[in-house]
């Protein structure tokens, strides 16, 4: 193990190198660029003997990975925002073709208007595609989660692609002290990927046939089943990682000071770190508040959410994206999971921090304070600048 002060982006680069990926293919987009620049350095110097395919678009980058994975190669790519949206068709393809690709997604707002800043719309809007999704809050967690992602993706009961996100600039470009596991440690945790791909040179086999209404549904079920199995496999993989490195990041929904809480805020990504500080400050003032970090968005931790909902009267969800015509995605899924809780908690959706709007400790304090005072479920756009209030539409 070595200690380094590195950005979240470089944490992914080091993880890809330690994972001994066979094929990397990527297209530049701010703020992902330094991930693949660092990987290019590793390949050029010989530290990472991988094939680096420099493509002419993100759509092509993901196709390179899918086809390479079909033959049995371990693959990695990274993107953000518009690049991820351009890949959309192939995100579905990667999951349906059971390609265990690991992809870094630096969460950046989508255009128009143009913005380079933190926003979860890009990855959240891909939640239907069959990719496992993690939302780390620190550079250490980014590195650890990327290594975990390879083993999870390639597990025979899973065989699904995995996205490891990073909040733009907060993680991607901000440096932190990170422990980088040694190559020997990672080799023991992550064995070299077996050469067994979906198709083999010299053998008959077609990956991607069309199929009729008689079997299509059953094929889709196999993907659903794999995503479901990923829950249990993730627990095992993270336990193995803890044995290897001493670090564990708390599973799908790590909680903080929720045991006697009157209100719990659910956050994703770097807002979690700030929220934790705000929770501590409010506790010091006698407020009984707690935090739950939605670390794994897919597969959605419905059981853990239902359990939390049965113990708490108020749940607030900080969504750093919004599904037009509906509500924040995390809120919607939490509401569904909390639906059958014996005590029906008040559920509030706080749309906040879009397009890189800063979430300071005072903002998190403000959100939790509003949650404590709420007398009904609903949505609010926290911190929206406007002069006149309008009739809000959900749930009226």
């Amino acid at each position: 193990m070595s200690e380094a002060v590195i950005s979240g982006n470089y944490a992914q680069s080091y993880a890809a190198k330690l994972a001994r990926v066979h094929v990397v293919s990527a297209y530049p987009i701010t703020p992902q660029t330094s991930i693949v620049e660092k990987i290019a350095d590793f390949v050029a110097s010989g530290e990472l003997p991988a094939q680096y395919v420099k493509v002419e678009s993100e759509h092509s980058a993901l196709q390179v990975c899918i086809s390479a994975a079909a033959l049995g190669a371990r693959t990695y790519t990274a993107t953000s925002s518009q690049g991820l949206l351009l890949m959309h068709e192939l995100l579905h393809w990667a999951a349906g073709a059971r390609a265990p690709i690991v992809m870094g997604v630096v969460n950046r707002a989508v255009a128009p208007p143009w913005s380079l800043m933190t926003d979860h719309t890009d990855s959240i809007s891909q939640r239907d595609t069959g990719w496992i999704q993690f939302y780390p809050e620190s550079n250490q967690e980014v590195l650890d989660t990327t290594l975990i992602a390879f083993r999870l993706a390639e597990h025979p009961d899973v065989r699904l692609p995995v996205m490891v996100t990073e909040d733009a600039f907060f993680l991607s470009h901000t440096v932190e002290r990170v422990d980088i596991p040694s190559p020997a440690c990672v080799d023991a945790f992550l064995p070299s990927r077996s050469r067994e791909g979906a198709v083999r040179l010299g053998a008959r086999g077609r990956l991607g046939s069309f199929t009729g209404p008689d079997l299509y549904m059953e094929f889709r079920y196999t993907v659903a089943r794999a995503m479901d199995r990923a829950r249990g496999v993730l627990e095992d993989v993270e336990a193995a990682y803890e044995r290897a490195t001493g670090r564990h990041h708390g599973g799908a929904l790590p909680t903080y000071r929720v045991d006697d809480a009157d209100a719990v805020l659910v956050t994703m990504g770097t807002a979690t770190s700030t929220a934790r500080a705000a929770i501590d400050a409010m506790r010091a003032r006698g407020k009984k508040v707690g935090l739950a970090k939605l670390r794994v968005f897919r597969p959605f931790p419905a059981r853990e959410v239902a359990e939390l909902a049965s113990r708490v009267d108020r749940i607030g969800v900080l969504d750093r994206s919004f599904t037009f015509g509906a509500a924040g995605a995390a809120f919607t899924e939490i509401a569904a999971a909390a639906h059958d809780a014996a005590s029906k908690p008040i559920l509030r959706d706080y749309i906040a921090g879009l397009g890189g709007r800063d979430l300071a400790p005072s903002d998190l304090d403000g959100i939790v304070s509003r949650l404590l005072k709420a007398d009904a479920s609903g949505i609010e756009w926290y911190g929206l600048k406007r002069r006149r209030a309008e009739v809000s539409s959900w749930p009226a």
């Binding site: 086999g205 077609r206 094929f219």
Partner: protein
């Protein structure tokens, strides 16, 4: 051939490996080629141009139509220089 009917029958990764010969395309045709061995010079042109791999070359060198697969396109009859192939309507 394996029967694929339920989730349990499906491979985890959707790869198709069975050869297509289990699909007999004979029912597609309206006409079938009939080869007159008296005129056939064993030039192999019919074998060469068959899009359906439905003409094989027998051990004696004469072409043999694989009637399970022939779709009756008529290319063989059209290209046969000695005019040894006639397209005959199926009943």
């Amino acid at each position: 051939m394996t029967r694929y009917e339920t989730v349990e029958d499906l491979p985890e990764v959707p790869v198709a490996e069975e050869p297509s010969e289990s699909i007999r395309t004979a029912g597609w045709r309206t006409f079938r080629p009939v080869i007159d061995r008296g005129k056939c010079t064993k030039c192999n042109v019919c074998w060469k141009f068959c899009p359906d791999v439905a003409i094989a070359i027998g051990e004696d060198g004469y072409p043999v139509v694989r009637l399970d697969y022939c779709k009756g396109c008529g290319i063989c009859a059209e290209e046969c220089r000695p005019l040894a192939i006639e397209m005959v309507q199926e009943e």
